[in-house]
Assembly symmetry: C2
Homo-oligomer: 314 residues x 2
Amino acid sequence: MKIVALAGGVGGAKLVDGLSRLLPPEDFCVIVNTGDDFEHLSLKISPDLDTICYTLGNRDNPKTGWGLEDETWVVFKHIAELGGPDWFRLGDKDLATHLIRTHQLGQGKPLSEITRDLCTHWGVRHAVFPMCDEPVRTIVHTADGKSLGFQEYFVLLRCQPEVKFFRFTGIEDSKPVPHALRRIEESDLVILAPSNPWVSIDPILAVPGYRKLIAQKPVLAVSPLIGGKAVKGPAAKMYRELGVQPSASAVAEHYRDLLSGFIFDHVDRKELEKIEGWRIMSYVTDILMNNKVDRVRLAKEVLVFGESILSRRF
Amino acid sequence: MKIVALAGGVGGAKLVDGLSRLLPPEDFCVIVNTGDDFEHLSLKISPDLDTICYTLGNRDNPKTGWGLEDETWVVFKHIAELGGPDWFRLGDKDLATHLIRTHQLGQGKPLSEITRDLCTHWGVRHAVFPMCDEPVRTIVHTADGKSLGFQEYFVLLRCQPEVKFFRFTGIEDSKPVPHALRRIEESDLVILAPSNPWVSIDPILAVPGYRKLIAQKPVLAVSPLIGGKAVKGPAAKMYRELGVQPSASAVAEHYRDLLSGFIFDHVDRKELEKIEGWRIMSYVTDILMNNKVDRVRLAKEVLVFGESILSRRF
């Protein structure tokens, strides 16, 4: 079974990590949101891409959920002392990534190639694709009329502003990474990882070309919400502010026109009927991933459920 | 007595440090070579400027002669692990300087203003001016027909190639930093610090405007050579390769049309007659600066000699 996952940051990375331990590199790859990318001190940062790569390279920081393990903070401590911006701190090891990426992007090397080469050094065996090589930026439009860069909203303002809508600038001119598109074409199943639907998965689906192709494939999503709450991040708050009660079924409805199957948590089992009513096959289990054992266990269930979707569909 | 010094890196920094301990900020400033500046991993590096500022800010690394004290090397260790260029390593604390400078240059802030603001954070009280705000690059043309960026010649190739001539690209379009020019106008004495004449002092003098103004002032140089050898760096080797026997008098002759006075070492006292023959006043002393006491001692002698030059001249 050939599988492509679409993913954002932390939650998505956990499931992707589990799947990568069960599937060989030729059968599994991941396409990652780059709408969160931004520039900080003129460095090009790709938070979701790095979280996925660091996790697959077994060097993620389990305490923070982002950045590298055993990180030090000498550079940004001194940047703060020199009056530089310190609202978004980057670790010393992490900075090596950003310096190389910024330099190579400046030389005209596409982000997808840079990521591939970095992955080689990190020992990441499965292909990790940025959703596109062109810069796309998620802009958060707030109820009080402001438009904020995603990291400004997310890190600087700690998701406090009320969200009105999102815009992905540059999306019209973005193109799917050709290798990623081919992997979808060759795939048996597409998995939407348990990432934020609004700002992690939607940007990927908005790159012209992916959605149309994905719609021709069996698609399975894993809910990022448990009991109406996000495990991490502002997904639930966003649903509320956008006028939707946050719930597993709200996520299923979000992806409704694409989904063949949906995996959500036991605590939300009362929503099963509603979801199945949309002709989406449901699988209810414990979706919280507290450790690496959980990741592989959930990944196994995803694969078994995926097989059953394929067997019923064809 | 109002004094302006022209200086390059390590040797110049030592005398400038000594002078800064004897003169108040309103009476002493330094104009620094930026021909050695270069880009590494897309970071804008100003080696001489940083050496001077770190020294005046009492945070220089006495072991290496460049960079910061108590430095760590996490970022570049990881850059090397990621296959990035590691022939020019930058320390973690030092990187904070380069990141801020690169970012602010990218925003259009002039190098002189960036340097001034960094100096405020470093507690540097005396003005430190880059020779110009425009990019000038010292190119080393070698006997075997190559043209090398200065740091490529200096760090990567360890000054091994035979030098044929130097070129300062961008020099025609460079302009003296206005504040620096004004300080020269108001000065009683200009000091050429014991820096490499070819690649530290000559680039400053080549920025259109400085030389003409400096020629109207009493100028005093301190030899960077002792017994025909450079304390540090390739100055003596360059003299030889350019067909000149390296010596104190060779340095005096280098600056001959500007000099009122010249300070050189006891070991070269046999050259006194030759130098005085050019109507350049000579002062012979111990010019090696092994420690901070030496710096202040030599700076005091420079000031006393400077006073005597002024008293004879006017």
